[in-house]
């Protein structure tokens, strides 16, 4: 039975909702905060900022990460920057414009109220990070520097060279370590959440597996915050880190948390192309490169000449040609799809023919090599290291790669999932980016959720649900039941004793996803994907080979557990893509396009969030709906011409 989900959006004007709501929400008395325990899973921007802030308020925090240190979380790899509507450059920016751009950029599939709040708190993030000592880029007068970034017509992006994610994460990490020093945040490294414990409809804790010892552990708390990032690694090759996975979110899904818009994935246009069979991951280069680089392919098919031997008039600067006003700065989904189109037309470049050029010759001519080095030096060095080519002399080769997932756990305005007491923050939730995320908005959202949203909404939950007195400890039988189920699952994986490695299954799944649930989708291929993934999953449980034992470190076993979840999540993504018979943002259905091959939305039938409800293993899940209304940003067809 399809349900209508209530996003619990507060009443009033969009500009006043958050202020009103903050006033109406219940507060936890300062001296009572120490009586609550909060579990934070993941220590990226969302998790670290939430841990630090909740601890500052007085809560006891248990923070878990999969790596050897919380500082390794994959937020660290974000390069380009973080948006805020400070309007320091005096170029016409405002909170309203940032809100407007984000709703429009998300192709009208995000919740307006959440996006407005995001734009509203963004300025505070910059202030907070600057106060922490994040070394943002500065002008000679000592003020903060801004640049324009992917799709924005104002310069609202703050940055720290090409390492903004690193610097913001280290800022949040340092804030968390400051609290760890006081003993209020306890950090548990090399732990993986393997189950969510729910008792009588309320979240009571989690089960983790200690990656080093293989032991399973029970953790009780009054609330659980899932800050576990996205699920891009379902594609095997992506720009995500090797351990980035969807398992924590998937366990929550199986315990009743709805999974929203799983098919909304972002394919980033400027990645280094695949080199061969043994490739383990893809490397992204900041799309700030598109500020100065010009994208082109040869006009002729199969033109194998070296790029510098192809004369100007035989090059097709296709983004500038098709989109004269935005040119090389069109949104990510548009840039990615157009690149794939050029390759499909046989105009791809490089040895594999699966790439397009990103050329800096004009920028170097105009501004000089030193100026270009100053802006992109570290990216050029990285490119050179990986490809052995010198981008100062020959154009870069780039190709799109899976980068970010806009879909995620469904949350209401308070960031609470459909399981009371389980909250999802950052990339792990679905709420702010709609069907396409704008550049430099992921860092903004992760930190907004952690520093400025959850500290308010969590308190309201704790008070409303009487969690001060209503406690369940880890001695409750449900904890033992969940622990045993997790243990059994891991021994099942070990006992398949088949013939194929975990990675070989992951690679096969990745191929299906990329070919059929990738940049361009249609009914036939999606239906095929669903049956292929289902077959692959059955084969996995019959034929996977996991070496080693369940005692001590066993990387193969860890991977097997994650891939088993990806084999279910991948199917849900295909199902969601199939049911959404419209194109929007990163979700491009070939059946729904304009005459000019642009994504064509169907607002009459699909101006809603699809939130999937688990209904049992190997059962078709239920597609619930949250209707979206656009009262402030009028629905228009995106046009970047």
């Amino acid at each position: 039975m399809t349900k209508k989900l209530d996003g619990k959006v507060p009443e009033g004007k969009v500009t006043e909702k958050w202020d009103n709501h903050r006033f109406k929400m219940k507060l936890v008395n300062p001296s009572n905060k120490r009586k609550f325990k909060v579990i934070v899973v993941g220590t990226g921007l969302a998790g670290a900022s939430a841990s630090a802030t909740l601890s500052e308020l007085g809560y006891n925090v248990d923070a878990f990460c999969i790596q050897d240190s919380p500082r390794r979380a994959h937020s660290i790899a974000a390069q380009g920057g973080i948006n805020a509507a400070k309007n320091y450059p005096n170029d016409g920016d405002s909170v309203w414009r940032l809100f407007y751009d984000t709703v429009k950029g998300g192709d009208y599939r995000a919740r307006e109220s959440n996006v407005y709040r995001l734009a509203q708190v963004a300025n505070g993030i910059i202030d907070q990070c600057a106060a922490q000592g994040v070394p943002f880029a500065r002008e000679y007068g000592g003020t903060l520097s801004n640049r324009s970034f992917g799709g924005a017509q104002v310069s609202r992006t703050f940055y720290a060279r090409g390492q903004t994610g690193q610097q913001l994460l280290l800022g949040a990490y340092s804030a968390m370590m400051k609290e760890a020093a006081k003993g209020k945040v306890k950090i548990h490294t090399r732990r993986e959440m393997v189950d969510l414990v729910v008792v009588d409809g309320k979240t009571r804790g989690i089960i983790t597996r200690n990656i080093v010892t293989g032991e399973f552990e029970k953790w009780a708390a009054d609330a659980v915050l899932l800050c576990t990032g996205g699920y891009g690694n379902v594609y095997f090759l992506s720009t995500n880190a090797m351990t980035s996975n969807g398992s924590a979110a998937w366990k929550a899904y199986k315990k009743g948390a709805n999974f929203a818009n799983p098919c909304f994935t972002q394919i980033h246009p400027t990645c280094i192309p695949v080199h061969g069979e043994n490739q383990s991951k893809l490397t992204l280069m900041s799309e700030s490169l598109r500020n100065d680089g010009r994208v082109w392919v040869p006009k002729k098919q199969g033109d194998k000449r070296a790029p510098n031997d192809i004369p100007e008039e035989e090059r097709d600067y296709y983004l500038e040609r098709i989109y004269p006003s935005f040119g090389n700065l069109v949104p990510r989904d548009v840039a990615s799809r157009r690149a794939k189109e050029s390759v499909d037309e046989g105009r791809g470049v490089g040895k594999t023919g699966v790439a397009v050029y990103l050329d800096f010759a004009d920028a170097i001519k105009r501004d000089g090599e030193d100026a270009v080095r100053d802006r992109y030096g570290n990216l050029f060095t990285m490119y050179n290291r990986i490809t052995d080519e010198d981008p100062y002399k020959t154009p870069m080769r780039i190709f799109p790669a899976v980068h970010y997932t806009m879909g995620g756990l469904w949350v209401d305005y308070n960031l609470q999932t459909t399981v009371p007491g389980t909250f999802a923050l950052g990339e792990a939730n679905f709420s702010d980016h709609g069907a396409n995320r704008l550049g430099a908005s992921a860092l903004m959202q992760g930190l907004a959720d952690g520093y400025f949203v959850i500290p308010y909404t969590l308190g309201n939950y704790l008070v409303t649900e009487n969690l001060m007195t209503d406690k369940v400890g880890d001695d409750h039988p449900e904890f033992d039941k969940c622990l045993k189920e997790s243990k059994d699952r891991f021994s099942r994986l070990l006992n398949v004793k088949g013939t194929r490695s975990v990675d070989s299954f992951h690679r096969d799944l990745g191929n299906i996803m990329w070919e059929r649930v990738g940049m361009s989708r249609n009914k036939e291929r999606l239906e095929k994907a669903i049956s292929e993934i289902s077959d692959l999953r059955k084969e996995f449980w019959k034929d996977v080979k996991v070496t080693g034992t369940d005692v001590g470190l066993n990387v193969e076993l860890e991977k097997a557990n994650r891939v088993a979840d990806f084999l279910e999540l991948g199917e849900l993504m295909a199902r969601d893509a199939l049911e959404r018979n419209e194109s929007c943002g990163g979700h491009f259905r070939e059946e729904s396009q304009t005459e000019e091959n642009e994504a064509l939305r169907d607002d009459d039938n699909y101006a809603h969030v699809a939130a999937w409800e688990f209904s049992g293993d190997e059962q078709t899940p239920i597609r619930n709906i949250e209707e979206l209304s656009f009262d402030n940003v009028p629905l228009t067809q995106r046009s970047y011409k």
């Binding site: 802030t53 050897d68 106060a131 070394p135 351990t243 069979e277 990986i386």
Partner: protein, 256 residues
Amino acid sequence: MSSEEKQLTLNLKVWRQKDGKDKGQMVDYTLEGVSTDSSFLEMMDQLNEKLVVENQDPVAFDHDCREGICGMCSLMINGQAHGPESETTTCQLHMRKFNDGDTVVIEPWRARAFPVVKDLMVDRSAFDEIIMAGGYVNVNTGNAQDANEILVPKEDADLAMDAAACIGCAACVASCKNASAMLFVSAKISQLALLPQGKLESDKRAQAMVEKMDELGFGNCTNEAECEASCPKGIDISNIARMNREYFKSAVVSKS
């Protein structure tokens, strides 16, 4: 243009150690068909995939982002932290830097403060403890004034960013004959001492972090500069001089 892709056969000598208590030993493996376009860690993946097929326990090593920024990968490669290429992490090192038939010796970071967890994986939580001792500005969420109220000269901001680029991989410790953590500690102390936001607490910070570093069993600096030479992010050794200044200053003004 790029060099042509070739296939290499390598003789690997890899440190294998079951757990912290095991004595450990070097084990020889021959690996064929390694593409020169592969990264060093993709070569390790290839070795592991082969070991799994042969029913052997794969080699444990730390890695995550594979973009040279998370700081999780490590490895002493032929006696050099992160291998032969300067300012390059192991994950960004490519096999085209090796020749067909090469012998490659692969060992974990070795330092008293970093016990081996398994094979090539070590426990670097000592670095977290050092940061916990003072590697931050004491400012709670919500306390900040408008970001442009704190003016920072561009030169200082750039120097602070140079120091802040540290990824905490600990190559500096691994390549120092004293297993000193001074480059790591000084990078954080410098970053915060250079910025007005961090100045207020700079005395206390220098003392606390240096004391913690000593307590955790890291060695002293004898100016060999191996740390700087092996640092994948090019952190400058002048940060150690700045740390020493901060430390002496704090010793002079210390009230205790």
